[in-house]
Amino acid sequence: MTVLDIQDLHVAFTQRGRVTPVLRGVNLTIEPGRICGLVGESGGGKTMVGKAITGILPEDARITAGRILFKGRNLIGLPEKERRQLLGRSIAMILQQPTTALNPILRIETQILEVLQRQMGLAHQAARARALELLDTVQIRAPERVLRQYPHELSGGMCQRVVIAIAFSCQPALIIADEPTTALDVTVQFEILRLIKILQRDFGTAVLFITHDLGVVANLCDRVSVIFGGSIIEEGQTTDIFTAPKHPYTSALMAASPRHDQPEKGLHPVPAEIVSQLWREIEEHDRARSA
């Protein structure tokens, strides 16, 4: 059964009475245990997709149409209580900034145990044992010591491991990873990606991997969706997309990725014609919808 099925999702900002659409009919499906990449440039709406799923859209943003089915259940309009039961336990999220995603004034122990006790209903002793196990799983070498530490005493990579441990702690069916490695340096980035891959395979977790980094997508994801201007312009198997992109924007995006092995090729921004053509289409679409 499909874990996540987003159908025709529309999200719009309302500011001083003016409605600005950010998602214009996003369709996306993720099968159990698969990693689906969601790529696009900044402002393309990729983060909004993650926020819409977890219900943390900004206050002035609203879902105007569409359905978000999690295991066949529509998350939109779900009562607050049921939504909160799903979050953390069945759907978890990894945020971009690991150093700020942890409460700065609470020890790591408090933060991990809180999830285990609340969401898994474990007693203190059992939760502590499980927390040590989890930290070991995310390859933290001195779990006992890390439990006693505060986030500011840990490096960004360590913090992200803790965040990942918390995300996987309840063995959720779906994890939304919003640029989880963007704030980290390249060597740490690689370890974190490998960790996410190992854990998602071991736990059978489906992952929605939101990123702007095509290199990461190529290595990690089973399927890719390319988002532009709030709609998916191309979707398919990672290998297909990378060998034979159908949409000119996708090929331009791939050409725009800097290649360290071929520096002589230089930097190639996405051609302006492609972008302005896409925006023309979007504006037409908006006009058609509002008419």
Partner: protein, 285 residues
């Protein structure tokens, strides 16, 4: 054991405010607790034959009244010592109640935007726009003088300071990723308010608490000065009020309690600073 001693020494060296302020505060508590044994005289006992005796460093002093006597011949030292009791009560009750009220309203106001925030914000502004002393005087006029009226006056003014600062802190904190992370983990509002936000504002709330204790002393003194505090027990403000009429004949009657108030308020604001430094894990480096 020696590790404990070195860490204690380290703390005294790096955070002297905490220790100086804390020591003075502890001394006030000790004096209040031991008042019956420390005071040489009954603070209410009048001795009309020994009015306006000067303190020990001036000529014509009487060794049995080390800090002299007031216009009714009462021992000032004993009155100052017994005066720590109402001061302490007012300090702790006033700061605790205004702290609790202010922290809860500040948390709620900062976390939930919208009408609730607006309502609490307006309320803070209304209370702050009143001259605080006028507010206290009106209150005492309604309830009658006494220590409970003083505490109420302190709370009425003090909560706004907590609420305003805490609200500002929460406005910044709630936009941070760890609050988003908590929401994504399915935590409810109550849990986010009290388990995630409250620990983050605890250092600043404690510092405000210590400052508020200092302010409580001043409010009590002012209210006592105009005769709105307790009259059946000696208070520092009451001694100042008594000494005012005779300030040319016996300046020490008024000066000594002022010195006590200054030392206490100064010590409490030092304690407040030190406390914040000691509690906040981010500042411990």
């Amino acid at each position: 054991m020696s590790a404990l001693r070195t860490s204690l020494w380290h703390s005294i060296r790096t955070n002297p405010q905490l220790w100086i302020g804390g020591t003075v505060f502890a001394a006030i508590v000790a004096i209040a607790a031991l008042a019956p044994w420390l005071a040489g005289h009954d603070p209410m006992e009048q001795d009309l034959l020994s009015q306006h005796l000067p303190p020990f460093w001036l000529p014509e002093n009487n060794p049995s009244f080390p800090l002299g006597t007031d216009s009714l011949g009462r021992d000032i030292l004993s009155r100052l010592i017994w005066g720590t009791r109402p001061v302490l009560l007012v300090m702790i009750a006033g700061a605790t109640l205004s702290g609790m009220l202010g922290v809860v309203l500040g948390l709620v106001s900062g976390y939930f935007s919208g009408w609730l925030d607006n309502a609490i914000g307006r309320l803070i502004e209304v209370f702050m726009s009143f001259p605080p002393m006028l507010l206290a005087i009106v209150l005492v006029a309604v309830t009658g003088p006494g220590l409970s009226a003083v505490v109420m006056a302190i709370v009425l003014i003090g909560w706004t300071r907590f609420a305003r600062v805490i609200r500002g802190e929460v406005l910044v904190l709630r936009e941070q990723d760890f609050i988003t992370a908590a929401r994504v983990l399915g935590y409810g509002h109550r849990r986010i308010l009290f388990s995630e936000l409250l620990p983050n504002i605890a250092p600043i709330a404690l510092a405000l608490f210590a400052l508020e204790m200092g302010r409580a002393i001043v409010v009590e003194a002012v209210l006592a000065f105009i005769g709105f505090s307790a009259s059946d027990v000696p208070t520092w403000g009451g001694i100042i009020a008594d000494g005012r009429s005779y300030v040319y004949q016996a300046w020490w009657v008024m000066t000594l309690p002022v010195v006590c108030i200054m030392i206490s308020v100064l010590a409490l604001s030092m304690f407040a600073d030190g406390l914040r430094k000691a509690i906040d894990p981010m500042m411990q480096r």
